[in-house]
Every structure is written in C-alpha cells, then in structure tokens.
C-alpha cells in the first residue's frame, strides 16, 4: 500500500510538470494580447514597451523562459509575479484560496445533502410520482448553466435587486474569520447555484446505483435475517451503493474549482475563479499558469485520495 501511494505521488508530480508545460506552450504559442503592450498602457513608446518586455523577461527565448519558470515553480515553489500588478502570484492565490475553498466545500456538502437523499428515495419509490418528479427536476438542473442559474437566483432572491429579498446579493462575501454568519449567509445562494447541477447528477447516480444494489442477493439475505427494511436499505444497500459514488466524488470536487469560476464572477466572490478570469482578460500569464497548476494539483491529490479511500471502503481492493 505504501509503495503504491509513493508511486502514485511520483506519477502525480510528473503529471503536474506536463500540465505546466502544456499551459506554458498554450498561452505563449496561441495568439493572445501582448502582455508588455497591455501593461504599458495606451500610446506607449516602443522603447517603453521594449523595456517592460525586458523587465518581465519576455525578450528571452521561449525555451529559456520555460526553463526559468519550471525551475522556480518546482524548486522554489515560486509561481512568479503578475505581469499586471507585479504582485507575487503565490500570495494572490493564497489570499483568494479561502473564498474558493469555502465555496467548493460548502457546495459539495449542499449537493450531497440534497442529491443523495433524493436519489435514495427515488430508488426505493421507483416509478412513483415522487420519483418521476425528482428525476424530471434533476434533468432541468443538469441542463441549466450555472451562470444563468446564478443570474436568475440573484434576480429572484438577492437583497438588493431581487423580487423576494431573502439572500444577500452579489459582492457581499466576507471571510469566515471576520464574520462567520455573514460568511455563511453570503455564500448560501452561491452554494445552492453551484450545487444544483451536481446535486441533480448525484441524485440520478445514487438512484441507479441503489436500484442495482437492492436487486443483489445479499440484500435478500439481509431481509431473510429478519432485519428491518430501514436497516436493510441503509446498512446493506446504501453502504454498497455509495462506493462508486465516492470514487467520482473527489474528482468532481476537484473539478468544481473550474465551475466555481462562473459562480464567483456572477456573485462577485473574490476567489481563485475570479482571479483567473481577470487574469485571462489581461493576458496575465503567470496568474493563469498558477491557477491552472493549482487546479491540476487538486485533481492529482483528489485522485490519490480516491484510491486510498477505495481501499478502505472496499476490502476486496488491495493495492500491491
């Protein structure tokens, strides 16, 4: 098991190097705005632009730039400096990580809290009105894009512009440590919006997984033992049905960071998503690269965690 984990971590590092290289190439090779020109402002003289280019290290060959970047990232954990504000990227990301993690973790709790119970009830009451209604509703939420759902939610429920003023509107985010209640209430709507699609997908996943499990022989055995139906469902059915869901859960939480971009923009939450969104519009490569790397790191770590979790959840899985 330990050897397996070490091997997985080494592979993860290799993957991160590959991802870094790929983003580097993508943003340098593809036509985007010239960062030096963008930073120099309007009507800047060619000399000024050349000087900025030199200061940012953009006059070196691509290969040299790449080498310097990789060396800094992997040896010193230094993600470089923003082309735009000269602030260190690591600091920028660290400042905004809290908001994004709050958003992602909260949304995952909301989506599991809503999705799994609906899936369980649907599986047990298959082909009833309740089942059809929740599965139909799920389809709506799976199809609705987050930014649209976010805008609709603000239009309906935001304290400033909403029809029914229940939730704080966009731009009301405060850190957890400064005011826990405000943090909670400002994130409630973004959580619901971000969780809606995933909750719907997980309700459907849970429904199909539990439906399959409830037809297994060991469920019949559990009933034949004289257990209550509640114990049969929760202790024997759900316990087995949850395994495939845990497998994809960690990956989905990692990729949630991606969907968080849109929600952060719509609700004006100062998180990683918003940071990278602004960086893309400014051709601020170091920040884009830093956030992409962070996303990749989340996915690699989530993958390893899933494998470890799986070995604990399913005794038949033992890595050697």
């Amino acid at each position: 098991m330990t050897r397996y984990i070490i091997r997985r971590i080494l592979w993860g590092v290799l993957l991160l190097i590959a991802v870094t290289a790929l983003t580097f190439v993508l943003f340098r090779v593809l036509p985007t705005g010239d960062p030096a020109r963008l930073r120099a402002g309007r009507n800047a003289s060619p000399q000024v632009i050349a000087e900025i280019r030199h200061n940012l290290g953009l006059d070196k060959s691509l290969l040299a730039q790449f080498w310097i970047y990789m060396k800094e990232v992997f040896l010193h954990f230094n993600l470089g400096f923003s082309y735009y504000s000269s602030a260190p990227v690591r600091g920028l990301i660290a400042n905004r990580l809290g908001a994004t993690v709050s958003l992602a973790v909260g949304a995952s709790i909301v989506w599991l809290g809503i999705g799994l119970p609906i899936g369980i009830v649907s599986a047990l009451r298959r082909r009833t009105l309740l089942d059809r209604a929740s599965m139909g509703g799920a389809l709506v939420f799976i199809s609705a894009p987050e930014y649209w759902l976010g805008l609709i939610a603000l239009y309906l429920f935001a304290a400033d512009i909403g029809k029914v003023k229940v939730f704080p509107g966009a731009g009301s985010y405060v850190g957890l440590t400064s005011d826990p209640w405000k943090w909670f209430s400002s994130l409630l709507l973004p959580w619901l919006v971000l969780a809606a699609g995933s909750a719907a997908i997980y309700a459907r996943l849970m429904r199909s997984s539990l439906t399959e499990t409830m037809g297994e022989d060991y469920i019949r055995t559990a009933r034949a033992k004289g257990l209550s139906e509640r114990r049969v469902v929760m202790h024997h059915g759900v316990r087995a049905a949850i395994n495939p869901i845990v497998t994809i859960l960690a990956l989905d939480i990692a990729t949630l960071i991606g969907s968080a971009i849109l929600v952060e923009v719509v609700f004006n939450i100062p998180g990683i998503g918003q940071l990278s969104y602004t960086a893309i519009t400014h051709s601020d490569f170091p920040i884009v690269q830093g956030t992409v790397l962070l996303g990749a790191l989340f996915i690699v770590v989530a993958n390893i965690l899933v494998d470890i979790a799986y070995a604990y959840l399913d005794p038949r899985v033992r890595y050697s």
Partner: protein, 338 residues
C-alpha cells in the same frame, strides 16, 4: 388434526403472481404441501418451475418484488400471509431461516463474515456484541470452519465457496430456527464440496431437530436427504410421494424424464442420457390442459383440453400424481423404461 399432530409447516393452495408489462406471470399456481417437525421435503423442478419463488414466499420475501400472494402458509397453525411486515421480520431468521444458491453473492462483500452473523444473532436476541461474537465463533466451529476464532474477522472474498456456504448455514442457524429452507444449497459448489455441505445439513438437521425444505433441480440431492419429494412443473406440483416411493415407482412422465436424465457411474454405461425434449413453458400463458402435454411423448389429443388434478395413486394415498394416463398404462410404460 390435533394440536400435537399439527404439522410444522402447512402450505395450502399457494398462488404467487408477478404482474409484468407482458402479462401476469403465474410463478406458483396453487401448490399445497405439509411438512412435519424434523422432516425434510425436497422440492424438485427445472429452472422456471416456480420452486424458488414458492420457497421465498414462505418467508414473505417475494413481497418486496411486487408479487401477489394468495393461499395460506401456516407455521404451527399461524398464517404467515396475514402477518404484517414487522411481524414477519420477527419470524425471518428466527423461526424460519433460509440459505441460498450462490454463497458468493449472498454474503455482503463489504462486511466481515463474523459481523454479518453477529447481525443475525442480534436481530433476534438481546445480547451484547461480545456475547454475539462468542456465539458466532461457536456457530462457525459448528459448521466446520477451521480456526473460527481467527476466520471470524475474514471478509467473504477470503473464504472459499464451500466455506462461504458454511458461513451462510451458520448465519441461518444463529437463532436455532424450527424450519430451514435451502434453495439450491449446493448448485454453485464443486462436486466434492457439495457432498460435504449436504452431510453437514443432514447432521445439523438431526442435531437441532429442524424441519427442512430443500429446493433443487437435482434429484440426487434430495434422494439422500428428503423424506418426501414434490416435483414441480410450470408452477404446480405434478407428483408427490415419500422419497423412496417416488424414486422407485414414479408415476408422472415428467418425473420419469428427470430420473432418466441423471447420469450414473454404477452399472453399465448407457449410450446416451435421455433429456426431456423441449423447454419449460411460459408462465404467462401456460399450455392448455395438462401443462406438460407439449413435451410429453405419451400425450393424447384430449390431454390438451383436460387439466388433471393431483390424485392419490391406488393403494398409496400419500403418493399423488397429476397425470391423465391410466394407472395401468403408467405402470406398464415405467416398467418398460427402467
């Protein structure tokens, strides 16, 4: 019948229907049988003859599958079909226990074998976890698991097929049931292991004085263990008798077919086994008249119209058969087949 002579289990005109999109599947079509204390009944038939559904219905386990069950199932005079789900739960695994065909799928793959048996003990006995664990180790030893104190913490995938079935038997015996229903208990096992499991079941039945219903497609299994045998075809019992009688003087053409399709090692080697032609009929629209007539080589045209009832054979009221052939003719044909 007096209280003392009251049978352990009495099934009367049991019907089990499954409504499906294609029509109603009549899985069990009016079967009746009795089982005395400590006695063993073998229910024999092909796949799809309704024998497993009949067994599951005794425990009320077909309810969860949406079955419509009619008739009476009396356990010591109490009608199980009239009980609520909660009342049935007190009987399942307690007064009536069941073991299943495939022990590798019947045990929960994610829980330790011991924990699953502990759960069965604690479902019906108010004992501490430690006490239940002691009892579990004792049970595992009773069914012949070597080193039960250590194996109690194994997962099912760490057990062999035969050991898994032993564990299932231990689980079934956890609360010393009066009745054990074994649904194809040896079908999924190796031949050598089959014999061990049957010997184990026989020993435990005698030690604990349980009544037993063995459901199987294998006449060889019931030949050794059963006191009485009922042969099922298309949801009905077509012949029932004391085991010895049924094996020596079978009256129904279907029973003849079953007996003649068993290979024997003893005696001269016959050129070919005699399979029963055709395949089991649809239970949605069973054949008219005698359900077996399309596959019966002795069938007469009128057998497609007349539905035979289960009638006693002359001279032996406990031997009953549902066949339209004349008694003398049946005797003559069987003599010829032997």
């Amino acid at each position: 019948m007096s209280a003392a002579g009251e049978p352990l289990l009495c099934v009367e005109k049991l019907h089990v229907d499954f409504p499906t999109e294609d029509g109603v599947v009549k899985a069990v079509d009016g079967i009746s049988y009795e089982l005395g204390r400590g006695r063993t009944l073998g229910i024999v038939g092909e796949s799809g003859s309704g024998k497993t559904v009949a067994a599951l219905s005794v425990l009320g386990l077909t309810r969860a599958q949406g079955a419509q069950v009619q008739g009476r199932i009396l356990l010591e005079g109490r009608d199980l079909l009239s009980l609520s789900e909660g009342e049935l739960q007190k009987i399942r695994g307690n007064e009536i226990a069941m073991i299943f065909q495939d022990p590798s799928s019947a045990l929960h793959p994610l829980y330790r074998v011991g924990a699953q048996i502990v759960e069965a003990v604690r479902a019906h006995q108010d004992v501490s976890k430690a006490k239940a664990r002691e009892r579990t180790i004792e049970l595992l030893g009773l069914v012949g698991i070597p080193d039960p104190g250590r194996r109690v913490d194994d997962y099912p995938h760490e057990f062999s097929g035969g050991m898994r079935q032993r564990a299932m038997i231990a689980m079934a015996l956890a609360n010393e049931p009066k009745l054990l229903i074994a649904d194809e208990p040896t079908t999924a096992l190796d031949v050598t292991v089959q014999a061990q499991i049957l010997a184990l079941l026989e020993r435990l039945r005698d030690e604990l004085g349980m009544g037993m219903v063995i459901v199987t497609h294998d006449l060889g299994v019931v030949a050794e263990m059963a006191d009485e045998i009922a042969v099922m075809y298309a949801g009905r019992i077509v012949e029932t008798a004391a085991a010895e009688t049924l094996l020596k003087r079978p009256e129904h053409p279907y029973t003849w077919g079953l007996l003649r399709s068993i290979p024997t090692l003893a005696g001269p080697r016959v050129e070919q086994l005699a399979p029963i032609p055709g395949s089991p009929p649809s239970l949605i629209e069973p054949p008219s008249g005698c359900h077996f007539h399309p596959r019966c080589v002795y069938a007469q045209p009128e057998h497609a119209r007349i539905d035979p009832g289960l009638e006693p054979v002359q001279g032996d009221p406990s031997h009953r058969v549902a066949c339209l052939l004349a008694a003398g003719e049946r005797k003559r044909i069987w003599e010829g087949l032997r």
